[in-house]
Subunit: 408 residues, 2 copies
């Protein structure tokens, strides 16, 4: 098997690829109500102040603060109550010196008032008079116009992934439609004479297609629209035809090669024919996932992943997911991580990244990462695992009891 | 304002509610291909062994391991190559002593072979003869029948939230339809004479509806189907009618009260009329979120949240999200957390849980949690924050420089 390309480390491979892949983000405008998890395509600015009027933060009486100065339980201030501001009503009543208006939490403050006395610090003397037992400062218990956000202020930047509170911040400003990044279309092509659809019972020598579905799920998680295709047999013309069509329909093409050497060689040949510059990386110093192809074909990223389902998922997370984020104009979201102690020695090789699947176990109050055994990266090693431990390029392994970071 | 109920701590409130709310999980059967993120409603067992035949993990020659014992570069074993097992083909050729068959990665092992020699450890002498330089042990480079998972073994338990690799594990076994928990329907009712739809420019005293959209987004994140309704004015009959209809259509009712005291009292009155036993908790020792109502009305959970958007979100995450998980028969997923040092003193009160919104800043290689300022829980304190620090019931605050856990 001829090695046409030098094996690269994963960081080298990403640098080589990402230096050449700098896409512009495509935008579409959608309802803010449907935008949870989508990525903003433009910086958004506040069209007006929020709130638009001064609001009370308590139930009480809107007053001029000066009218309460020196008030105490033994020497209360007496104020005349001249009205009530209804919820959702303009506070258009005027207050003279020594006058107050009943307001509710969230209600508008009349123009002559500059503070609110909490109802708990007052007592009603007669229908139109209250005693105030504590002084209030100017602005106390009031939210000023623009205190939440000011007109023209940056609401959220391009590249931001919308959370529930962001939806709230947008609708509070009347921004009911938002420009978001179009979900990239990721074509996923499973290949192999031995591969049959999951609905079919595999005959001797045959296996069900796993990669179409695990990789589609990973693409969906990353914010892309996966497109799957019928399984392609290991014939050059069939693969050329299917790959060319899939790439035309999508922004990214992911091929999971058949598992034989000849099938992998065929994938490389097909990728080279898809466009310029073609293959940038062929072979990674990583376990699992060595026989990976990373290419750029007429501006579109093309990945040739190993046929092994575990390798295919590891490589997808390392290279295709960040590619999707780049097309969305965003950065990776935070993923949950925990610190744990490795439950047994795990050997690696300097110059190679290893990804070890682990279960988590609590032992005497400490968290331990137990490697999930199973040779050759069986899919159930992933199903049984709760997280992944990365063993760095420059490490030759992790000793039992050593602290590691587990990405869940 | 009469206090009919004692204020409860959040853990007490959850115990009171959850002891009485033990729903059975409703199941539906859907395509496994569409099941990412859904929660399994039943334990699933493997319908057959995986793999269904012994497979090679390398490209090489299927052999009887005994034929290679003692082989070395200086004294290779000579084997006769009697055929090739094609990918996706039954390995029906028979091997006599001293015979081998060419196999590819993932290919089937012939019945007389019990190991595979990697092609790198062989050399072709003539078209039908190879030299083997290293011995192999029985089972080496072979995945045995059932080594990934055995027939009858538990695949995944009820309550498990399906990840990409789980989809892969299921389709590998031909499980293309799965029983999952029905998404609970969560009715969300915003109330308040001052509240207008986001499309409308708020007049003096009016504010746009935020809670319908933030709470719907939180419900969606938790795995529920949110249902929103037109804003209800602060009139008893209107609220009774709207709440009764919404509860009939949903599994959970979430009301966000108007922000005035009278509106909150009205919510309590309406909830009491919705069914038995009615209100379980009225008032929480928590900041923000004190005026919370937790009720069970003829078997359905009803929550009266504060009108303030930040309080409403905090209380939703603490009580409604776990209620949704209970209806789904699952446990909370891991959320990303980081450790950081608090950037300023934050006071609290013993006997009260405080939730403080923070930004994260890196200073001299350390992560610091900077509280987002802003009185009265403005929505933009949440928009500007990256996470939440919980100050426990028994703490009276966090000092500057103290290490805290930030939930992102």
């Amino acid at each position: 098997m001829p090695e046409l390309f030098a094996v690269h480390t994963p960081p080298e491979a990403w640098r080589l690829f990402s230096a050449r892949f700098q896409p512009t983000v495509r935008a579409e405008t959608i309802s803010t109500y449907q935008a949870l998890g989508r990525v903003l395509a433009e910086d958004l600015y506040a069209p007006h102040d929020l709130p638009t009027f001064p609001r009370s933060t308590v139930d009480g009486y809107a007053v001029a603060a000066a009218d309460t100065y020196g008030a105490s339980p033994s020497l209360p201030a007496y104020l005349e109550v001249v009205g009530e501001v209804g919820m959702g009503q303009a506070a258009d009543l005027r207050l003279a010196e020594g006058q107050a208006a009943l307001v509710h939490t969230g209600g508008m403050i009349p123009p002559d008032a500059d503070a609110v006395v909490m109802v708990e610090h007052t007592q009603q003397v007669d229908p139109s008079t209250i005693e105030v037992y504590r002084p209030v400062a100017v602005g106390q218990n009031v939210i000023q116009v623009g205190e939440d956000i000011r007109q023209g202020e940056l609401v959220l930047p391009a590249g931001h992934r919308l959370r529930p509170q962001d939806i709230g911040g947008l609708v509070a400003l009347g921004i009911v439609r938002v420009p978001v990044a179009v979900r990239p279309r990721v074509a996923i092509l499973s290949q192999g004479d031995e591969v049959v659809p999951p609905e079919q019972f595999p005959g001797p020598g045959q296996v069900r297609d796993i990669n179409s579905y695990t990789l589609a799920a990973l693409a969906q998680e990353a914010g892309a629209l996966p497109i799957t295709y019928p399984i392609v047999p290991d014939r050059l013309e069939a693969l050329q035809e299917a790959a060319g069509r899939a790439l035309a329909e999508a922004d990214v093409l992911v091929m999971s090669a058949g598992s034989s050497v000849s099938a992998r060689d065929m994938t490389a040949q097909v990728v080279e024919g898809l466009g310029r510059p073609g293959i940038l990386v062929h072979g990674l110093s990583i376990k699992p996932g060595k026989p990976t192809i990373i290419a750029l074909c007429d501006g579109k990223p093309v990945f040739g992943l190993p046929g092994n389902p575990v390798s295919a998922m590891v490589i997808f997370r390392l290279f295709v997911t960040p590619t999707i984020y780049r097309l969305l104009g965003t950065t990776p979201p935070d993923r949950p991580r925990v610190r744990a102690r490795m439950a047994r020695n795990v050997a690696s090789t300097t110059g190679r990244e290893d990804y070890v699947q682990v279960r988590l176990e609590e032992r005497r109050g400490e968290l331990w990462a137990v490697p999930v055994l199973g040779k050759s990266n069986l899919i159930y090693t992933l199903v049984r695992s709760q997280g992944t431990v990365k063993i760095d390029l420059d490490s030759n392994g992790v000793a039992e009891g050593e602290w590691v970071t587990v990405e869940l």
